[in-house]
């Protein structure tokens, strides 16, 4: 069966510090990968998606970047955090081309920028 991991679970960082959040998926190959941000416990905002190694697409311009160095690894980064980067960050995966549509989410990382 497939599992998705995210770490850290919680993070408190000062404004201006760098950020690195990691997501890994097990039990599948060539997944599509996604980073979402959820503010105030409500709606989801898609930040980045990736259909393959080194292939990253951004949905919204922002202070963040993403990388996919390996097939099942997805990293969310920032060089200098802003207060507005606080939120709940969710990684998700879905089957690749020709697969089913549902996305499966990791446990999330709660980021607080102080």
């Amino acid at each position: 069966s497939q599992t998705i991991h995210q770490w850290p679970a919680t993070l408190v960082q000062p404004v201006g510090s760098p950020l690195s959040l990691e997501c890994t998926v097990e039990g599948t190959s060539n997944p599509n990968l996604y980073w979402y941000r959820q503010a105030a416990g409500r709606g989801l905002q898609l930040l980045f998606y990736s259909v393959g190694i080194g292939q990253i697409s951004s949905e919204v311009p922002q202070n963040l970047s993403a990388s996919r160095p390996q097939d099942r690894q997805f990293i969310l980064s920032s060089k200098k955090l802003l207060l507005s980067d606080s939120g709940f960050y969710l990684c998700a995966w879905s089957q690749g081309a020709g697969g089913t549509d549902e996305q499966y989410f990791g446990p999330g990382t709660r980021l607080t920028v102080t």
Binding site: G43, Y49, D101, E102, F105, G108
Partner: protein, 117 residues
């Protein structure tokens, strides 16, 4: 444009009573529809989906959803609510107009379900 709406911010129901969480959609063509649940400080969990076939779809934890094409709705239901069902529920629809190389989902804003003992 493809879209999905959850008209209620919060739904309150007594334990043991039936519950309904509403979802309406707007897509061109036949919709692919999904429901997810999110417990506090957790990721979203997939509950069920409708692609084609029977209008009543059964999912995890005793939930079901009814697809109604004429009303463009996909309401989530459960015959008897439990306190443990209290969570945030998201409806989603596949965006067939998107051509970015993956099956994009559009999520609703979420509905908070509170089940009272």
């Amino acid at each position: 444009a493809q879209s999905v709406a959850q008209p209620e911010d919060q739904v309150n129901v007594a334990e043991g009573n039936p519950l309904t969480v509403k979802c309406t959609y707007s897509v061109s063509g036949n919709p692919y529809l999904f429901w997810y649940v999110q417990y506090p400080n957790r990721g979203l969990q997939f509950l069920l989906k409708y692609i084609t076939g029977d209008n009543l779809v059964k999912g995890s934890y005793g939930f079901e959803a009814e697809f109604n094409k004429s009303q463009t709705s996909f309401h989530l239901k459960k015959p008897s609510a439990l306190v443990s069902d209290s969570a945030l529920y998201f409806c989603a629809v596949r965006d067939f107009a998107f051509s970015g190389g993956y099956n994009k989902l559009i999520f609703g804003a979420g509905t908070r379900l509170a089940v009272h003992p």
